[in-house]
């Protein structure tokens, strides 16, 4: 006698440790296999785009910290670049170098969490992520030296950075940068050929190249699918064109490729920081900008290669002290577009690691 079966709906999240925040997946399951899935979010929507229209340009910098709170410096930098483009504000050389050093440290810090959390999802419970957090801690100490904060830094300003780096910063940075490659190698040795990681992540959650481009994916998600596209090279901002580094890419676009791209990007970030440290000039770190800045009428789109992908700000000014429109192009949101395609046909446990490998931050998805 044939057994009668039927598919059922499972609400995964919003409160669940594997959803990296408050994210809900409404999954239709056939046994353990995902046959349909709908991402549901908005639980962390704070209306930042609306709030920003009521604040001055400068008052909005702290809001950019609260988008992707695992990479606050990236939010700061992208917003400052957009305003500098809008109001045509020059940035001193020393500030440009400090920005690059800070932005690349932030990339390492964000990727450490991304990789650690991904392995957590894979079932390597807590051990890898605690190693990662141990290393990230050293970067947070550096950020604390320059900004006084450990999570929401509010460090960059239009025309530079809020203050010069303190004396103890450079020796501490040298130590971190000297140790980091050894740590990444150690970690890589431990995991790159790990049987369980390979079995879980290889060939799972594939995002084909054409689809990745069509959905507007960016960052490690796009590069993991084999597209060599990095804003730092393609549309070089700040002083990235002066540094030598490579763009790591994957081949098939599975979870393992995205994981590898992040590991390799951390090595490239170390390379960039070393070059920026050598070239760091003396001088001013901030151009004088009026407190109630009124950029000329017009619009500007400023973008950077944030750890999670292309982070852009589309600003419209009507020559008042507040932005007329403050739009955030959030990589975490757009990278989620193909989640259904990547997860359908796989088991629940695979859907979880596929989601984890995209590396999203809910603060940025919901805004």
């Amino acid at each position: 006698m044939a057994i009668k079966t039927e598919s059922f709906v499972l609400n995964f999240g919003p409160q669940h440790p594997s959803t990296h925040g408050v994210f809900r997946m409404r999954m239709t399951l056939n046994g353990e296999v995902v046959v349909d899935m709908e991402p549901v979010f908005g639980y962390l929507h704070r209306g930042i785009e609306k709030v920003a229209e009521e604040r001055t340009y400068k008052q909005n910098i702290p809001f950019t910290d609260r988008l992707d709170y695992l990479a606050s410096m990236a939010g700061n930098l992208a917003y400052c670049l957009a305003v500098e483009k809008l109001a045509d504000i020059p940035v001193p050389e020393r500030a440009e170098h400090i920005r690059v050093i800070i932005a690349e440290l932030q990339r390492i810090a964000s990727h450490l969490i991304a990789v650690g959390a991904f392995l957590n999802d894979c079932g390597a419970f807590m051990t890898p992520i605690l190693y990662m957090i141990r290393e990230r801690e050293k970067i947070l100490d550096l950020f604390e030296m320059v900004s006084g904060q450990r999570l929401t830094y509010n460090f960059m300003r239009f025309g530079g950075v809020s203050q010069d780096i303190p004396e103890e910063f450079m020796p501490a940075l040298e130590k971190v940068i000297a140790e980091m490659p050894g740590f990444i190698d150690e970690y890589d040795r431990l995991l790159a050929e790990n049987e369980i990681l390979l079995a879980r992540a290889k060939g799972v959650g594939i995002l084909p190249k054409e689809l990745a481009i069509n959905i507007g994916a960016s960052g490690p998600v796009l590069r993991g699918s084999g597209v060599k596209w990095d804003i730092r090279k393609a549309d070089s901002y700040s002083i990235y064109d002066r540094f030598e580094f490579e763009i790591p890419t994957g081949t098939v676009g599975d979870c393992y490729d995205r994981y590898r791209v992040r590991i390799q990007e951390m090595r490239q970030s170390v390379r960039i920081i070393k070059q920026a440290m050598e070239q760091l000039p003396e001088g001013e770190v901030l151009t004088e900008v009026p407190l109630r800045l009124r950029p000329p009428k017009g619009e500007a789109y400023g973008r950077i290669e944030a750890p999670k992908g292309e982070l852009g700000f589309y600003l419209v000014s009507d020559y008042s002290p507040n932005p007329y429109r403050f739009h955030i192009r959030a990589p975490s949101l757009i990278n989620l577009t193909a989640l259904r395609d990547m997860a359908v046909g796989w088991k629940i446990a695979d859907a979880i690691i596929t989601f984890g490998s995209i590396d999203i931050c809910m603060g940025e998805v919901d805004r």
């Binding site: 908005g42 689809l211 069509n214 852009g312 739009h327 949101l333 577009t337």
Partner: protein, 149 residues
């Protein structure tokens, strides 16, 4: 560096292909009629010379008299980009054609614009609110929104 395509040059080409589709063109942007949006977008995506295969972002701005939708199109091959704009004057029932069929990148972003501005995108397969809940009063990113208190 990403080259910004000249709206003026493209406008001249579009005028031959789709007469009357362009309203205004400047050095860095191109304003077209909403009826022509799909034709023009498809032309820019499929013509090898432009090959705009990547939709960087879509957003909307409320200029009180009209809504303006902004599409930033990019070609990963040629590394150039274009700011394509279109306007919608109806405030009661604003709607624009959806570019979902060309770029799936429009999926979540058009839904977000619908949620926050109330602009309906015709042809989008799943046009419903995304960050706010069903029944939320109005569309908060409109300049005349009076909700909240």
């Amino acid at each position: 560096m990403t080259v910004a395509l000249s709206g003026k040059e493209i406008a001249a080409k579009l005028e031959k292909q789709f007469p009357g589709s362009v309203i205004e063109s400047s050095e860095d942007s191109l304003l077209i009629k909403p009826e022509s949006l799909l034709d023009v977008a498809s032309f820019l995506k499929t013509t090898p010379e432009f090959n705009c295969d990547y939709l960087t972002t879509i957003t909307a701005v409320d200029y009180r008299d009209y809504f303006e939708a902004v599409y930033i199109l990019t070609s990963l091959e040629h590394n150039h980009s274009l700011k394509l704009k279109t306007r919608c004057h109806d405030r009661k029932n604003p709607s624009l054609p959806s570019v979902f069929s060309l770029w799936r990148a429009a999926d979540l972003q058009e839904r977000e614009i619908f949620d926050l501005f109330g602009i309906k995108f015709d042809g989008h397969p799943n046009m419903k609110r995304i960050v706010l809940w069903e029944g939320f009063p109005g569309h908060p990113l409109r300049k005349d929104w009076q909700g909240g208190n």
